[in-house]
């Protein structure tokens, strides 16, 4: 399947084939394959050390895989939002955005900065030093930088880890809007409830292996051995999914 191909009305944004990453003798990722589609929101979940950040780093181009390949549209970089806000605290919000717009070789950096400020709702704080912003607002600027090159996919590494519930709610609202406009969203998280609530699909990693790919409901079904009383249309408690996730990992020795 080639990138951009539409399958059942879905466009493939990226295809991952046999991805392996080794750090010395340790295997961080072991022959992982999957596809991502346009406008899809995908959560990567798994225990600590499962390989979530490594997978995102390879997709972002920060790390090179030891084996396998990531197939995507040539000359189109993905947006990358690292876990910690990757911003220069001594520069203002606008200066940070302008710097990365220039480094991304955006045709009209000033226009792109204005558009991003509007999109993240920080026009009135454009001249303020990033160090003075709240964690939530820093994360919004962090995401805005990832979006400057208008990427087909946005990669977020635990985007809500340092945010309070209100800030988290606003973040997911913003990300939902991006997906609604056709951007593929793939994020890692420890928060299983968040994955269940906002992701259309989950990738479960354990010790570098891709253990599961499917919707949260699919995961619960897999755990309950095909119990169809829990389907995607059935309202569930967040705890149910978390319990299913823990049980799923436990059953597979993780």
């Amino acid at each position: 399947m080639s990138i951009g191909t539409q399958t059942a009305q879905r466009t493939v944004t990226v295809a991952v084939r046999g991805l392996t990453k080794r750090f010395g003798a340790r295997i961080a990722l072991d022959r992982i394959s999957f596809e991502l589609y346009a406008a899809e929101v995908v959560a990567i979940i798994g225990p600590n050390g499962a390989g979530k950040t490594t997978l995102l780093s390879i997709l972002a181009g920060v790390l090179n895989p030891s084996e396998g390949e990531v197939i995507r549209t040539p000359d189109r970089r993905f947006g990358w939002v690292p876990q910690e806000p990757a911003l220069y605290s001594k520069l203002s919000v606008a200066e940070n955005l302008r710097l990365f717009a220039r480094l991304e070789r955006v045709a009209d950096p000033d226009q792109a900065v204005a558009a991003m400020l509007a999109q993240i709702g920080l026009e009135d704080r454009a001249g303020e030093e990033v160090a003075r912003l709240s964690g939530g607002n820093q994360q919004r600027v962090n995401i805005a930088i990832g979006l400057l090159c208008e990427p087909p996919a946005l990669l977020l590494d635990e985007p809500s880890a340092s945010l309070d519930p209100r800030q988290r709610e606003r973040l997911w609202e913003f990300i939902g809007g991006l997906a609604g406009r056709g951007t593929t969203i793939i994020f890692s998280t420890h928060n299983v409830a968040e994955a269940e609530r906002y992701a259309g699909r989950t990738l479960v990693l354990g010790d570098g292996e891709l253990l599961f790919t499917g919707t949260p409901a699919d995961l619960e079904r897999a755990v309950s051995g095909g119990d169809t009383t829990l389907d995607a249309d059935t309202p569930r408690l967040a705890g149910d999914f978390e319990s299913a996730f823990v049980r799923f990992l436990h059953d597979r020795g993780h």
Partner: protein, 450 residues
């Protein structure tokens, strides 16, 4: 790279404490060195062994006497003497570091001076042993002693000249000579010639005495003419005293400009290494590194940007510092292009060392601490004088100094400032190679960032 450079300059502009420290620190060092070099120094400690027995320090010249002890007292105004009882003890004081120099006056100095004056034979010599470990202290002690020794020389030669010229005038023109308490009349060559000339005139034309007396007159003419030139010839003989000095092997740089070069290179090192290490570590502590190297800029480009910025800042600050130092110390402005070459190449090497350190550090504070911890020993190792340590340790220190830029930068700057140190070509090549080596090490270190 241009936008990263602009970004780093913006960050520096908003860090007044850091920039202030980077500018003020070298300027304060320059001023301190300037004041230290321009202020009158205290007295150097000198181990003094005077073998001349008490009461035997007078030199008789004609009917006058020169008391050497009078000039010794003048010397003591310029030094802090430690009197010792043997030459070996004097040398030990220097070796132990208790004295900066030793001055040895031999027992035969007075007889040697007398022999030189009365017979023209003799070599009155005092021995000066200098502690060469510190070029500044060495020059300080040498100057204090040499100035006083020169006074003794001047005094002796003046007295000799005065006596000799008086005697000559009497031989030429006649006068009175004091001998055994009595005044004895002295005819003088010119008076004798006049008498003989008068005698010749009174003799008959065919007198057989005429040719003989004519020979006496001719001799008197020749002698008067010759002795008439004797005074200026005597004036040119002005150094009856020899100072035998222990010399250092190899070329040396004038101490003042060498001290200036040390101050400038220490500042070049701190600004270059700290800035490069800190700016690179900042990319990590701000979590921007991973974002930058995923296609926005190559790691080599990022390293080059940091090295160039740090080198530019270090060169600018130390050029300003050199100009300030030149108010106190003579630096050759005619050699300015060489100053620039030495400082730019040194700054690039220090910048490369800085990014190698910054590549290993996880944040700015760790990078700064590492830069400081590495820089101080590098300077220390390069400044340890070779004769202060054993042969094996010297080889080790030389090897360590060789693989870091401080010594090569110091040699280049010392040559650029005064032109008297060993050539500048090799240190510049050495610095260029070190820049490439540390740049490559920094590139390897950056792998840890990912």
């Amino acid at each position: 790279m241009r936008w990263l450079l602009v970004k780093d300059l913006q960050i520096l502009r908003r860090s007044p404490l850091l920039v202030g420290l980077l500018v003020v620190y070298p300027v304060v060092i320059a001023l301190m060195i300037g004041f230290a070099l321009s202020s009158p120094p205290g007295k150097p400690t000198v181990a003094l062994y005077d073998a001349v027995r008490t009461g035997r320090g007078a030199v008789s010249i004609g009917n006058q006497q020169i008391n050497i002890s009078h000039y010794a007292n003048q010397l003591f105004q310029s030094i802090k003497p430690i009197r010792v009882t043997s030459r070996a003890q004097a040398i030990r004081k220097v070796q132990d570091g208790q004295a900066q120099a030793a001055l040895i006056v031999p027992a035969d100095i007075v007889s040697q001076i007398n022999s030189l004056i009365t017979q023209g034979v003799g070599n009155p010599t005092v021995e000066l042993i200098l502690n060469s470990r510190d070029p500044l202290e060495r020059q300080f002690a040498q100057q204090a002693i040499a100035a006083r020794a020169n006074q003794v020389e001047q005094a002796v030669s003046k007295q000799v000249l005065r006596v000799a010229v008086t005697d000559l005038q009497q031989v030429l023109n006649g006068g009175k000579l004091q001998f055994l308490g009595q005044s004895v009349p002295l005819l003088g060559l010119r008076n004798a010639r006049a008498i003989v000339q008068g005698t010749i005139a009174s003799l008959p034309a065919n007198s057989p005495l005429r040719p003989a007396l004519k020979q006496v007159v001719d001799f008197a003419d020749l002698a008067s003419g010759g002795l008439g030139f004797a005074s200026p010839v005597l004036s040119s003989i002005g150094s009856p005293l020899t100072i035998k000095q222990t010399e250092l092997t190899g070329k040396t740089t004038p101490s003042a400009s060498y001290a200036a070069a040390i101050a400038v290179i220490v500042s070049l090192m701190f600004v270059g290494v700290l800035l490069a290490a800190g700016l690179l570590a900042l990319e990590r502590s701000e979590h921007a590194y991973s974002r930058l190297v995923r296609g926005l800029i190559k790691p080599e480009g990022l390293l080059s940007e940091k090295v160039l910025l740090a080198a530019g800042a270090a060169t600018g600050v130390t050029l300003l510092m050199s100009a300030l130092v030149s108010l106190f110390v003579h630096l050759e402005w005619m050699r300015f292009p060489l100053w620039l070459a030495a400082l730019v190449m040194g700054a690039l090497a220090f910048g490369a060392l800085g990014v190698a350190i910054g590549g290993l550090a996880r944040d700015v504070s760790v990078a700064s601490l590492m830069a400081f911890v590495v820089s101080l020993p590098i300077a220390f190792v390069a400044l340890v004088p070779g004769d202060a340590v054993s042969g094996t340790l010297k080889s080790i220190l030389d090897a360590v100094a060789f693989v870091f830029p401080f010594k090569a930068a110091l040699q280049a700057a010392a040559n650029a400032f005064s032109g008297t140190a060993p050539g500048i070509g090799w240190p510049l090549i050495h610095l260029a190679v070190l820049t490439l080596v540390f740049g490559a090490l920094a590139r390897l270190a950056l792998r840890r960032f990912a």
